[in-house]
Subunit: 323 residues, 2 copies
């Protein structure tokens, strides 16, 4: 009789998960997710996590939407350089702006992080945060990805959106902890993923309060990557996450931080293995490099999503075709 | 007929508010609060604020609990100096530690903010955040306020606790935005006020991620006061508050920031006018100075709580006596 009830409960929970995770093929990845949620929300089990502690963190670029051939925010920054060039005649002869205007991306990237920060600061400052976010929202509506010729907002991962819905339905509080700009992401992610601004954490510029407004200054405040992801989590949330989702070595510290807590944990890497529908890359990629993290994850038995095998669709627009 | 319904609705809402704000005497302060909540939660009225935007911010010291004769966290820091003195023989001859050990508070304070930061950093670092918070929780249980001979946690304002409950019952999301230490407050405020760590914002030290742990470094990261309160609100929340509650000039920028938004707003100052039950101070006080803010609030018609007249009780323990 006990076995009957246990079977029924497992069946019920699997059925429920299926309703959410419709774009996931049956796989170890999917069953690991369902097992984690089922175990930690069972108030009578020994793995139960109270609602207040159900904090989960997701990287964004490469984990919730694509990041190839380069971070989408970088496209925004490059478009801004071109748009603002008329007001900055000096950019024609000043690097890295010159190379952006010449369309020489190889040279732009040769200036490294310093060059990117310079571009980022110059194009995303001198206005209030709401003014900046209006510009971002206009861009995300109009700009198109070079490979797919679709708005960047359509290149989000359908299975991961379902995962977020599934977790929220089970009272997990979902945070984004990304290297992307905090004001940039907050401009459109609330409407796109249905996650409120206060649950979106990212890199930030210096901001200043002036006469009732928050003004963006051309200076970096915080880079949210690697070892600073757990730091940002402590400042913003003040709790250790019980599950973490990433796709690169930049997420490893955050994932180790969630792993190091007591009790049941889930660490999941999205492994980009799908050249046809998305991209295939890991150890040698300049964007979203997954090397040490892959070894560590394999060693520790973390969940590694094989995008090609585990996902029935990658992007939401594929759902229309599949019908 | 319409008038009848309107009267009924107002009566109903007042009755409901009475249930929450039981320690508030009938006053302009109380009716301002009730009017704000009633107007902004009426989905059919023109002042309606959607739930996602119902963000409200409270200062802590002097707004939700007492701050006299000095900030309670400073008592904690002084107790820590005495406790750690054995491991630091050099403190016997090194200021400002020497004066703390000599019990010469006038001299301690003469070293100004720099001295306080030195004491603060030296006594609240070198351990993980959870380890630090265990120490804080132990202290808050054992230490007693010099005037009242009661734990500091008993010196919270009963009417303000009711106000928080009333706002939360109306789907406002309550944040604390305080000059107090973020890790310090998060150690006990969740249990004391029933506000989760992620809604507690404050000053912070530098923290570092090391091997699965967040370690507190002896260095200041962010002081959450005056013009940096709106800055912290943008980083942590990313929305402009619709109501703000403070008691000093240090809260003025935050309150102006909420005032500057469109739509119905509430800015409320707690004015310390009650020498007998609490303290009476404003323009000349070193702690919680309220000078420019008082003029501005009067000029703009903000709500100014007269603690002596508007509050039936100040502290929860008075409720027992009043029965």
């Amino acid at each position: 009789m006990l076995r009957f009830f246990i079977t029924m409960i497992i069946l019920l929970s699997i059925t429920e998960a299926r309703e959410y995770l419709v774009s996931w093929n049956s796989s170890k990845s999917k069953s690991n997710i369902v097992e984690f949620v089922t175990k930690t929300t069972d108030a009578k089990g020994s793995y139960f996590i109270p609602k207040a502690d159900r904090v989960v963190v997701f990287d964004n670029d490469g984990t919730l939407w694509s990041e190839k051939p380069m971070y989408f925010q970088l496209y925004f920054i490059l478009d801004r350089v071109k748009k603002l060039a008329n007001n900055h005649p000096e950019w024609k002869s000043k690097e890295p702006f010159k190379s952006v205007l010449d369309g020489n991306m190889t040279k732009v990237l040769s200036f490294g992080e310093k060059g990117l920060i310079e571009l980022s600061s110059a194009t995303q400052s001198g206005m209030s945060v709401p003014e900046y976010q209006e510009i971002v929202r206009k861009w995300i509506k109009e700009a198109k990805h070079p490979r797919f010729n679709r708005p960047y907002s359509e290149l989000i991962y359908q299975p991961m959106m379902e995962l977020i819905t599934y977790l929220e339905a089970n009272d997990f509080k979902v945070y984004i902890v990304s290297g992307g700009g905090i004001d940039f992401m907050r401009a459109f992610i609330p409407a796109l993923y249905d996650i409120p601004t206060e649950q979106i954490i990212g890199s930030s510029g210096v901001i200043k309060y002036v006469d009732g407004k928050i003004i963006k200054e051309p200076k970096i405040n915080f880079i949210d990557d690697k070892d600073t992801k757990p730091v940002a989590i402590n400042y913003h949330i003040g709790k250790r996450p019980v599950a973490s989702f990433g796709n690169s070595d930049g997420d490893l510290a955050m994932m180790k931080y969630s792993e190091a807590g007591r009790g049941e944990r889930l660490q999941l890497y999205v492994h980009h293995t799908d050249k046809k529908r998305e991209w295939s890359y890991d150890r040698d990629s300049h964007v979203g490099k997954l090397d040490k993290g892959l070894d560590y994850a394999k060693d520790k038995g973390w969940t590694i999503v094989d995008m090609q095998k585990d996902w029935r669709v990658v992007y939401p627009f594929e759902l229309d075709k599949n019908r």
